[in-house]
């Protein structure tokens, strides 16, 4: 009897428990991942940023806020470089990506995927390699500047490398797909019948774009700006390979402080300031241009 009821009840019990536990089981790996690889390092970073001492003698936790004031004062220029180049690169990537995404979404017909693949193909190669090839291409006597100099079309001391322009365009190139793909996705999603409806209501092609297509693609632009802007601002590879002493960005400084100077507290403080700064800008950006607002307000 008892065995009989047990065998009958058991599947029902496991099912019920399974149902209740399923969401937690599903979310567990993600939460664990975040806890171990994000939250814990973040706390470590915060603690380290308040330490004093040096690599040889060891670091002690001393509430050393000096790291923050010292770091900010010393590297203000590099912070502003990061913002400047990151923002310019984002703008350039946007100006290049939007027309391309628009054309593929609306005029590429059945070959849309082929064009997307062509655009994305170079990005299958490591971005360090791609940046190195930029360095070669743009070299002072490289395949582009070299012949121009021999022909005396540009002065012999003209250079692209080590200028803010090289860094900015390098960044724009590196993160181009992160701008293009979300914009393409939102353009692709637009109901073509809305365009006909706008034409029906006396909107010419420019007005159709301004009043219907662009507003409806804003979620994609918003995502693209985030996906490009954040890594571009934080990047240090482009700056290292294409830039010079006068174009140092904060990402490079932090990397150097960690890897070369082994000044962990200072590096941590710099990273923390950078992160909080980005976060503040992100919130501001969300408030100003957030898609939620777009859908609700006005």
């Amino acid at each position: 009897m008892a065995v009989g009821t047990a065998t009958v009840r058991r599947p029902a019990l496991t099912t019920r428990w399974g149902r209740a536990l399923a969401p937690y089981l599903l979310i567990f790996p993600g939460v664990a991942w975040l806890l171990i690889f994000f939250l814990f390092p973040l706390l470590t970073l915060a603690v380290t940023s308040l330490m004093s001492g040096d690599f040889v003698a060891g670091f002690q936790f001393t509430w050393n806020f000096n790291n923050y004031t010292y770091g900010l004062g010393l590297y203000a220029t590099q912070y502003s470089h990061s913002l400047e180049y990151g923002a310019s690169a984002t703008l350039i990537a946007f100006l290049l990506a939007y027309p391309a995404a628009y054309w593929i979404a609306f005029h590429a017909g059945p070959r849309k995927s082929a064009y997307l693949l062509i655009i994305l193909l170079p990005f299958f190669v490591s971005f360090v390699l791609r940046t190195l090839s930029w360095e070669t291409l743009m070299g002072d006597d490289g395949p582009i500047l070299g012949p121009l100099k021999s022909a005396h079309l540009i002065p012999s001391d003209f250079r692209v490398l080590a200028t803010p322009i090289a860094v900015t365009f390098g960044l724009a190139y590196t993160f181009f797909p992160y701008m293009l793909l979300p914009i393409y996705a939102s353009l692709e999603k637009i109901d073509r019948r809305l365009i006909e409806a706008a034409e029906d209501l006396f909107a010419n092609r420019v007005e159709v774009f301004r009043r219907v297509i662009f507003p409806l693609s804003i979620p994609g632009v918003f995502a693209g700006v985030l996906l490009t802007g954040i890594p571009a601002t934080a990047d240090f590879v482009n700056q290292t390979l294409l830039g010079g002493a006068g174009t140092t960005m904060i990402g490079r400084v932090i990397e150097q402080q960690f890897e070369v100077s082994a000044n962990y507290p200072l590096a941590s403080a710099l990273a923390f300031v950078f992160m909080l700064g980005l976060l503040a800008m992100l919130l501001l950006y969300q408030r100003l241009f957030g898609t939620d607002e777009l859908v609700r307000a006005r």
Binding site: A197, L201, L294, R298
Partner: protein, 398 residues
């Protein structure tokens, strides 16, 4: 359009004289998509202020015709005139025509007010005027106070009204409606049909309405063009098209029809005489073009048939044939009967449910009778023949 000041009175007279004129003229218009002919050499006049419907099954070319009037598709051949002006090459945004789309096409990023104001703003109408006209349009469709809502917050019926207001607010010469009620449930659909009719009467704008629902077309239209294979099969008032279908397609698409094969035997006492395939002789309204010996089909609508149980004679001024009742279906307002009239001929009849139950049981003999004037004639090959209510070009003869 340019009229000198001194000529204004004459122009005014001209305008009032043209009040019954065609506002949309399609002149031998064809549209091909690749090798497929969607619209085939179609000519059509739509009169100013009328409620005009294009009715047909999907793929008959009705929506393509509408899109050519709206400017969304360019005709492969032929000319589209709007208010006397050739607009064949004019893009949609420069035509004084607005469309209510089947999918409504409301802009999801704009609220109801801005949706309705869209056309006015593109035409640079002033802010106060926009306000006034949008409110007026929203009141017309019973949506006053909904201006701040987003399309996504409205029901299907409400979205449909916004789409209507968004078009009407521009006071276009012609309003095109592409199956606008298709997405609504039956009850709302019926309600909106009457609403559309009321609104059309109020604003006096020419409506061109596309539908595949014959009942809907008959309910709301002044005239109907029944289309099939890119051509107009028949054009006329709903009563004419229903009572005197010109082709087998029209007879079968607009409600049910009983079609019987026969041979024309000439006239007798002012009636045409037809010998049916089963041997019975019946009277029909004298056809204008049939010759003695011509094969033809005669048709009778199911509700025009009267039934007499075996043994009772049908009135002598009626046509009547013998049949065997196969099935009686209770529909609520009526009984629907299915008969076997011999020679494989199937007939159906509606009989109003006035109490008393079905007239006979399955397998019983009955006489099926109808008045001669309720018979319509279709040439045996099923092709349209010019008759007073049908003209191959679709132009109205008055």
């Amino acid at each position: 359009m340019q009229v000198e000041k001194t000529a204004a009175p004459a122009a005014g007279r001209q305008h009032s004289a043209s009040a019954t004129d065609a506002v949309v003229v399609l002149d031998h218009v064809s549209k091909r998509f690749g090798g497929v002919v969607a619209v085939d050499d179609l000519s059509l006049d739509v009169m100013r202020g009328e409620f005009f419907s294009m009715l047909g099954p999907s793929g008959c070319g009705k929506t393509t015709t509408l899109r050519m009037i709206g400017g969304f598709d360019a005709p492969s051949e032929g000319v589209v005139r709007l208010d006397g002006r050739d607009v064949t090459d004019l893009p949609a945004y420069r035509r004084d025509v607005n469309t209510v789309f089947q999918s409504y096409g409301l802009f999801p990023h704009l609220n109801v007010f801005d949706n309705v104001a869209f056309g006015l703003r593109r035409r640079h109408v002033g802010g106060a005027e926009v306000n006034r006209r949008v409110q007026e349009a929203l009141e017309l469709v019973s949506l006053a106070g909904y201006g701040k809502r987003r399309p996504g917050q409205l029901s299907g019926g409400q979205q449909q009204r916004v789409a209507l207001a968004r078009s009407l607010v521009n006071h276009p010469q012609v309003l095109l409606l592409d199956e606008p009620l298709g997405a609504l449930d039956l009850k709302l659909r019926k309600q909106m049909q009457l609403e559309l009719k009321r609104i059309q009467g109020e604003v006096g704008i020419t409506f061109i309405f596309v539908t595949h629902d014959q009942e809907e077309a008959m309910t709301i239209s002044d005239r109907i063009a029944v289309m099939n294979h890119g051509r107009i099969e028949q054009l006329g008032r709903p009563e004419d098209v229903y009572e005197r279908p010109a082709t087998q397609f029209v007879a079968e698409f607009l409600g049910a029809s009983n079609l019987l094969d026969g041979v024309y035997r000439g006239t007798l006492d002012g009636w045409g005489s037809v010998e049916l395939a089963g041997g019975d002789s019946i009277r029909i309204p004298a056809p204008p073009s049939a010759l003695v010996g011509d094969k033809l089909k005669v048709g009778i609508r199911p509700e025009k048939l009267h039934l007499y149980p075996d043994g009772r004679e049908a009135p002598s001024d009626h046509n009547s044939i013998a049949a065997i009742l196969r099935n009686a279906v209770f529909v609520g307002v009526s009984y629907q009967y299915f008969f076997d009239a011999g020679g494989g001929r199937q007939l159906s009849a509606f009989d109003r449910n006035a109490g008393g139950g079905p007239i006979a049981g399955p397998g019983e003999k009955v006489r099926v009778a109808w008045k001669p004037e309720h018979t319509f004639v279709i040439p045996a090959d099923g092709m349209a023949q010019p008759t007073p209510t049908n003209h191959q070009t679709g132009r109205q003869d008055k």
